[in-house]
Subunit: 564 residues, 2 copies
């Protein structure tokens, strides 16, 4: 991105704000040229609170909270900053869009005031924002799943058979169980994504994306029946009507416009269009130009999220969810995931590289990942004789089983660290191929493959392996902040063509979406070897993953028992 | 052992000499008290020649040769040294016994002169001693095995279905193939064990132990039929009669007495009894007091060798061999093995421990094995959730398959190096248990368990795991040089009771054999957990080892193909 000093006085701009796990980032984009003119970043003052509340109240194991003020500070600081950096006026801003981690949710009063802002609730953990990776509602998730199964709830199929502890309903149920007074005081439970939009517009709206993927909402069936909620807890019977909302706005629509208060906070003009809230991964889909079925986007970082559009609602085993209008209005948005990718490689570096390699990396002034990559890049596919199952953090898609664990086979006394490192990378690529093939086998074709995220952008070695393993050309996001760009695109659509934006996300994509010119193309002879290795991966995947030998679960059980 | 200055003038002594891979070691033992009075060590001047001959002739891949003069130097140096150290006279030495690595073999003239001592053959690799770990006859071993299978040779069953490339016949066949002139010039092919005895006594003798375990000899069937040897190579048809010998002496008999030349070389009196040669592992059996069936001895070092006596000849799947009179006269000596034990743990330390652990070990002034052991010892059995197949170097017993490779399952993002380290140790213990159970299931009971070798003597952590896994008390060799002690015992038997020795190895064992007072006893609650883990090990052992999924072999095949 070039920080041009030229002031396109006649041009219009759009601002996208991406709320991540540790910081928020704004980008300002020229809606005529598609150019990203400036970015600004604000790190959350309170970061992730996983040990104690601001007042010192200690938190339990697996808690992960955030402070809503940090989100408002992102608006307050980054919006004026990008406007100034870009050298434009607030009047040139046609629209604003935001995306957020999800499910990141909080209890608020009917006027939007977070309960944690009220002195009487400040010391109560359940009054705060539960971040996506808050895992303390696992017990509730487990019970929810068995109740749903017993009742034969058909929604389970849309989520690969399991509702995650990270999602909305288990997080609310935890509040009921642990602190019913907070549950009663909460007039609304809302995604942080929707809450920050509310702070800009002054009106509560909710989006179909988070509702569909994280709160068990369906375009035609709505939320689960009141009787299901009642089966969880009598207090929750009327949850959908009383504390959620049955009105959901699809992606690409306008949530409202900047309010008086919103204008004071951001420096934007009152009346500027604000898009319906979105999710960081999902908003990246149009940012790389995907606006039609058959094109998968993988956001590859510590974990991987896969998204693809379809024309119809299919039941694909092990997907994380399918939501009509959940990504692009008019299509079914499918999501799948791998729970351990960059984390996997980091585990290896942290636990399995020698002092010799550390010294070698230090002497070359590079980090261990770079050293291992250099060594691993000299190996041919199949040369190590190794094969792994990438389940160090369980398997999300397509097995949906957190109790699966890692496996590696083929070691000899001459096996070297870089061979294992490469094998772990290949294992995650095989995991992606398994997801692709599962989609295809179930009527959702995957013709093209796009990638975004830290690993996709920075690691050509990994991406070439992915191209060879999946035997598809890989196109890489052209923007280093794909989610913020996608949000800016939806901001421009919320503004509409007349106001200098676009009438549809397709039109916005034509100008604003971008991928890098250079792509990763599969190399024929590598593809042939990886086809053979993938056949082996699939056999082991099915053996360990589909119940032929539940050794992984039994080992976990033994581990649990001996520790007690 | 105490180097007593008291000269028991009335006592008799016996000397045992153990020829290892890099050195020879003599021990002198009082046959009245059983005390080991002194030891002496001589490192081979030429060590293992695996790159070139003494004249610079380069060697191929997988060659491993030795120099016969080094063996004679062991006699010349260590025998006088132990006599002097013990403060006794040559007249007090009742007998001498030796043991050797096997199959370590050489071509000699009819008078015992090694071909490599003759100037015309000095530059010819096949003229030298092929050490046990010379692996350059693999091609011959493979062809031998297929020819034997085609011909339906029943001897295969006695060796777990496969003749190893380390053994006598493949090593001889390599000579025929590569240097037929050396084959023709060789009037005898002989185990170095028997050759060194010949150098002491002046008479060629051969022992049933090496012939039985390494040269496909059987007490009743003899060597394979001439037609089998002819099928290998026409030149080899009369091998058994012309270049080996059909006269074999059982363990515990006398090979002869010290000759004039032997006396000059060693300082021993002419006429001193010399025992029939033995093998290092096998000779250790009576050294720990095992002289009857039901007691297994495991020599646990870089690899493990298991020996047990039986009353009858049973076919036990995957054993390395069963030889009548092969260990103790009157019994069937069974041998089994694990090809990767200490090597396994060393691989882990060399390849998979972090710079942090190295720094921690350095700061404590301990090595990485010690550090990992300290950390691993804090874990409970089963606590890691990990399980491995100990096949990093293939599987000798009970699967007899060099193409099997390592496997580990159960890793999560919190798995630590010491957990993997402990798992690899447990895997070798499960491998031992698999061998024990296979013996028992096939009619060879294993009631007691003894251990010798570096790991058995020095690593209580490993040995406690073994005791818990096999659920048997483990007795440890009382001598740090069990093989040399065993040889001294056979030397005393060669002398006989009248000359101050013993008439049988049983009598010798009653005085001279020793085990440590403290033993490793299974801990009940650990046994229960390991029973469950072993059940899992067995399932994976059978799945990967018995053809349900030959992924390990296919990965090796791919590895081989892509490297070419």
């Amino acid at each position: 991105m070039v920080n041009r000093k030229i002031n396109y006085k006649m041009h219009k701009y759009s601002i996208g704000i991406d709320f991540g796990t540790l910081s928020g980032r704004a980008v300002i984009v020229n809606t005529t040229t598609g150019e990203e003119e400036a970015v600004a970043l604000h790190e959350y003052t309170h970061g992730v609170m996983d040990e104690k509340l601001p007042d010192g109240t200690p938190l339990g194991v697996d808690w992960a909270l955030q402070h809503p003020q940090d989100y408002l500070d992102v608006f307050r600081i980054t919006i004026p900053e990008v406007i100034t950096k870009a050298g434009v006026t607030p009047g040139q801003i046609a629209g604003v869009g935001i995306d957020f981690t999800a499910c990141t949710m909080l209890p608020v009063k009917a006027d939007g005031t977070p309960l944690c802002f009220l002195e009487k609730y400040m010391g109560r953990p359940n009054a705060w924002v539960k971040l996506w990776k808050h895992h303390a509602a696992q017990e509730e998730a487990n019970r929810l799943n068995s109740i749903a199964e017993e009742r034969g709830e058909k929604f389970l199929k849309r989520y690969g058979g399991k509702i995650s502890s990270e999602w909305m309903i288990p997080k609310i149920w935890q509040t009921v169980n642990e602190d019913p007074e907070i549950y009663d005081a909460a007039e609304r439970f809302i995604e942080a994504a929707d809450w920050v939009v509310w702070q800009l517009t002054g009106e509560e709206t909710r989006n179909t994306c988070t509702a569909g993927y994280k709160a068990i909402w369906h375009k035609h069936d709505g939320y689960p029946h009141d009787m299901f909620f009642r089966a969880l807890h009598p207090k929750m019977e009327k949850l959908a009507d009383e504390k959620l909302s049955r009105i959901l706005l699809p992606m690409g629509t306008r949530a409202g416009t900047i309010s008086e208060a919103g204008a004071r906070m951001t420096g934007l003009n009152k009346g500027t269009a604000v898009a319906v809230a979105n999710v960081d991964a999902h908003v990246s889909v149009p940012a790389v130009g995907i606006i039609s079925p058959g094109k998968m986007l993988a956001i590859i970082g510590t974990s991987t999220c896969h998204m693809i559009l379809g024309d119809t609602e299919k039941e694909v085993p092990g997907m994380c969810g399918v939501v009509e209008d959940g990504i692009i209005e008019g299509f079914f948005g499918y999501e799948a995931g791998q729970s351990c990718v960059g984390d996997h490689f980091q585990w290896f570096v942290d636990n399995c590289t020698t002092a010799e390699y550390k010294a070698e990396a230090d002497s070359m002034g590079i980090d261990l990942h770079t050293l291992l990559t250099e060594k691993a890049a000299r190996l041919l596919p199949g040369e190590s004789g190794l094969l792994a199952l990438d389940w160090w953090n369980g398997n999300r898609s397509v097995l949906v089983d957190v109790d699966l664990t890692g496996m590696i086979v083929g070691m000899t006394l001459t096996t070297r660290p870089e061979e294992i490192y490469r094998t772990l990378i290949e294992a995650t690529a095989f995991g992606t191929r398994m997801i692709i093939e599962t989609f295809e086998e179930n009527g959702v074709p995957v013709k093209e493959f796009y990638a975004a995220g830290g690993i996709a952008e920075k690691n050509p070695f990994v991406m070439q392996i992915y191209a060879d393993v999946i035997n598809r050309e890989i196109k890489i996001s052209g923007s280093p902040q794909a989610p913020a760009l996608g949000s800016a695109m939806f901001g421009a659509v919320a503004a509409g063509k007349e106001a200098g934006g676009f009438d549809t996300i397709m039109e916005a994509a034509a100008i604003m979406a971008k991928v890098k010119e250079s792509t990763y193309k599969p190399v024929g002879k590598n593809v042939l070897v990886y086809d053979r290795l993938f056949a082996e991966y699939r056999i082991l995947h099915d053996y360990f993953g589909h119940g032929s030998n539940d050794v992984m679960k039994r080992l976990k059980l033994i581990k649990k028992e001996v520790r007690n």
